[in-house]
Subunit: 255 residues, 2 copies
């Protein structure tokens, strides 16, 4: 299995603290040694840092922890390979363009019979069940809508497709176009929204704590979504199996 | 205008030396202050580092100079914005999937009437003439070939399309799928192949030299393609206006 991490915020915010917690699970504390990746959106553009090396030994992951790249939407993933070898083309997140937007996708779980999925025009480059599922999802959306529909309709359609994929195995996913983060839970996915009054948080995987009050303004709203809670002293919400939730500018807008 | 840099090699090779030369043109020595990007292929996968900041001040560009990421195909670009604002979505290189391969594109020059180009299914995300040209090119190729043709046929078709684009202005480009690098020259593009016996090279833009003999094995073959020669004491070849050349595993295979 793998671990997912997402961030939605109303102001450009860095993810150094949460990413430090995730990285510890990528080789040192967890079994997720088979690559990692993180996508930062800035406006309509995005950039992805990824590596087929374990995140806890990667110089690039170290730079991401130290250099605060600020973004309103971030999607990250650490991988334990189950379908597809350990290689860059099999490393999440995956990004493709649809409707003139870059869509970024990361998956936790594993699927069977995925090679039969109709991916249409969206050819998978690698061999993972995850990339097949992403290409299938985009192909379904492309055939259903020639331009991007309103988010309520879009998220209802994605929920329907995600439920179909979940019938093939375990399908937890994060999907974003840089504005919305759409999270579908099959088994495990948690989230927390931080806003004023900000307090302290302590990482579960590392002896590091942070006082968010020192790093924020009173109007900041930041949501973190993760496979498992990353901190020990805060209240995380569990997304129920079969549930799809949508975040925008740091806030839950649909569940 | 912008500067292009490409590398094709028969063994995974780093580009620290040449990239150091290019970066100096991104803000300090040249007018190319409006972002930079570099794509490294590893097998069928690729990863891109990019920034809308000048390369000479970017901590990420600094990391790329210091941390030798080895690859057989690299495409890099530093930008002086002329069409489209300074933003991440307008920063080269651009990568899209076609025929189950990731294609990466960088452009030097500027085009007029580019918004009328038929990009079909490949919607531009940003506003640059370059991304429009790339989407147009992919759309032409997609409609002409449902799977990837042999490279001679493909490069002849790309040359035809590139010549059409060059009628709209200045169109120097590098394009790669991780195996081939296809370079089309409208005005300025140069290349050099280094192989045994390796000698010393000295950067034009920086007081740095390198003894390739210390960093290579006798069977290494490495080609560098750049808008302008990057070194002072080596013989670079100029690609003629209207000429398309193809490199694979470090060697020129078509001109």
């Amino acid at each position: 299995m793998c671990e997912l991490l997402g961030m939605s915020a109303n102001v450009p915010t860095d993810i150094c603290f949460s990413f430090t917690g995730l990285v510890k699970r990528g080789g040192e504390r967890g079994p997720h040694r088979d690559g990692w990746g993180i996508t930062f959106y800035e406006g309509k553009g995005c950039r992805t840092f990824k590596d087929a090396l374990p995140s806890s030994y990667s110089p690039i992951a170290k730079m991401i922890q130290d250099y605060p790249i600020k973004s309103q939407v971030i999607i990250a993933h650490i991988r334990q390979a189950n379908r597809g070898g350990i290689s860059l083309e099999n490393t999440h997140p995956f990004t493709r363009e649809l409707w003139g937007r870059y869509w970024t996708f990361a998956h936790n779980g594993q699927l069977t019979d995925y090679a039969q999925l109709d991916t249409g025009f969206f050819y998978p480059v690698g061999q993972t069940d995850s990339e097949y599922a992403f290409c299938f999802l985009l192909n379904q959306l492309y055939h259903r809508y020639h331009t991007m529909p309103a988010w309520r309709e879009l998220s209802a359609e994605i929920k329907k497709q995600a439920a179909q994929l979940a019938e093939k195995g375990v399908f937890n996913m994060l999907l974003s176009d840089g504005e919305y983060i759409i999270a579908y839970c099959a088994t495990h996915l948690h989230w927390i929204t931080r806003k004023a009054p900000f307090g302290q948080a302590k990482l579960l995987d590392e002896d590091i704590d942070i006082d968010f009050y020192q790093h924020t303004t009173p109007s900041d709203i930041v949501t973190i979504i993760a496979t498992q809670p990353l901190t020990v002293n805060e209240q995380w919400y569990k997304i129920e199996p079969g549930q799809l939730v949508v975040f925008r500018y740091g806030e839950l807008i649909c569940d």
